[in-house]
Symmetry: C2
Subunit: 242 residues, 2 copies
Amino acid sequence: MHKQECALTAINRPTAPSKKLADEAGLSGNTWQGTLDSEQVLSVRTGAKLGDCRNLSDSLLVVLEGVVKVYQTAANGREITLHRIYGGQICMLSLVCLLHSRGLHAQAVVEEDARLLVIPSEDFDRLMGESDDFRRYLVNSMTYCISGMMQLVSRISFSTLDLRLAHIIHQFSDRTSQRTVKFTHQALANELGTSREVVSRLLKGLERAGTIRLKRGSIEIIDKRELKAIRVATENQHQFYN
Amino acid sequence: MHKQECALTAINRPTAPSKKLADEAGLSGNTWQGTLDSEQVLSVRTGAKLGDCRNLSDSLLVVLEGVVKVYQTAANGREITLHRIYGGQICMLSLVCLLHSRGLHAQAVVEEDARLLVIPSEDFDRLMGESDDFRRYLVNSMTYCISGMMQLVSRISFSTLDLRLAHIIHQFSDRTSQRTVKFTHQALANELGTSREVVSRLLKGLERAGTIRLKRGSIEIIDKRELKAIRVATENQHQFYN
């Protein structure tokens, strides 16, 4: 796990969904969570892959604090980030394993030290049967995930890589409120599902256009308005269901 | 709605998930479905967009028979197919609208005359509260959708367009068990989220390679083994969660 890659965790962090979801879940309201054993909370360090934690199988995992990145890896080692799980959100991979005893085409790695609520199969069944709050929380989390995946498909299908790259740089600088942002070209490649070489070429293109300036290990944003315009354009390119 | 495009409905039809899901759902077992009013079954003709059916909003829709295609459209009119809903499966777009009173970046169109089970909000709440079967069905359907979306992201990110095109032609000929398959280049473009021109160019490439022969309005498969090899390769390119 590169330290630089951890710095990327601010990207795609939604405005305040974790608090919203935590409220919906009653995570902050002491409802169904209070019926669980407090010893079921586990601390997991940055870099741990949840799929490697055998003691976590056959349980639903809820991220209470920290960040977990969900990504896919191709046979050639290339990666793409699917989404990030923040405080108050469910790990969908754990849900699929719990329900179907089989894996998904994805992996989950802790990006920022996390506290996980571990809900064993029997507690999951009990909560589903007894708690309206828990059921609402679960279904809301799943629709949130489905919606996010559809948006990702849209971005990948309809936006060119250079626009997606500009989009992600703007998001990152927006979260950190910094004019100079630090990350490796490889970390950006892993966000986008492409190679480091391609990212480096596209970054040079953005530099030539006067949008950014490349420095050693960081990127200075020269024309934030242009980056924002690209981001708004990529977000508005879809049509809605209703 | 092009007639040719309807012919594509066999693509991506899973081996037998509709029966499996219908069984899981108790749709064929007369459990929770029996508690619903039989008048809540609606016939919808090919070409109807579910988002345009105002009388269907604020309800969960279950496809009992027929096929519904879920797709996204870019501002420039380009399309990509997200998935198809077969008999026994839930329309996730309707679930999102029901729960969040807002749309998704997607649309749903009936591809083969469909019978829809319409479950109004109050019945949905009652079933969630009372029926283990229904809850299991709902959560299974959602994990199935999430898993499918992740596979789609993988295919789009890690496979080149020519491989995805060969993959889809093989799937189609496999379902219809025919050596010559009929479809328009535009319909294939809509499957893949690309333009007709790109599809035409890629098809010519496959023809030059001796894999297919292009005819007026159809494609003859010359080297099915090669197509199958491509399909297996694109399906095996992922790593699993566990």
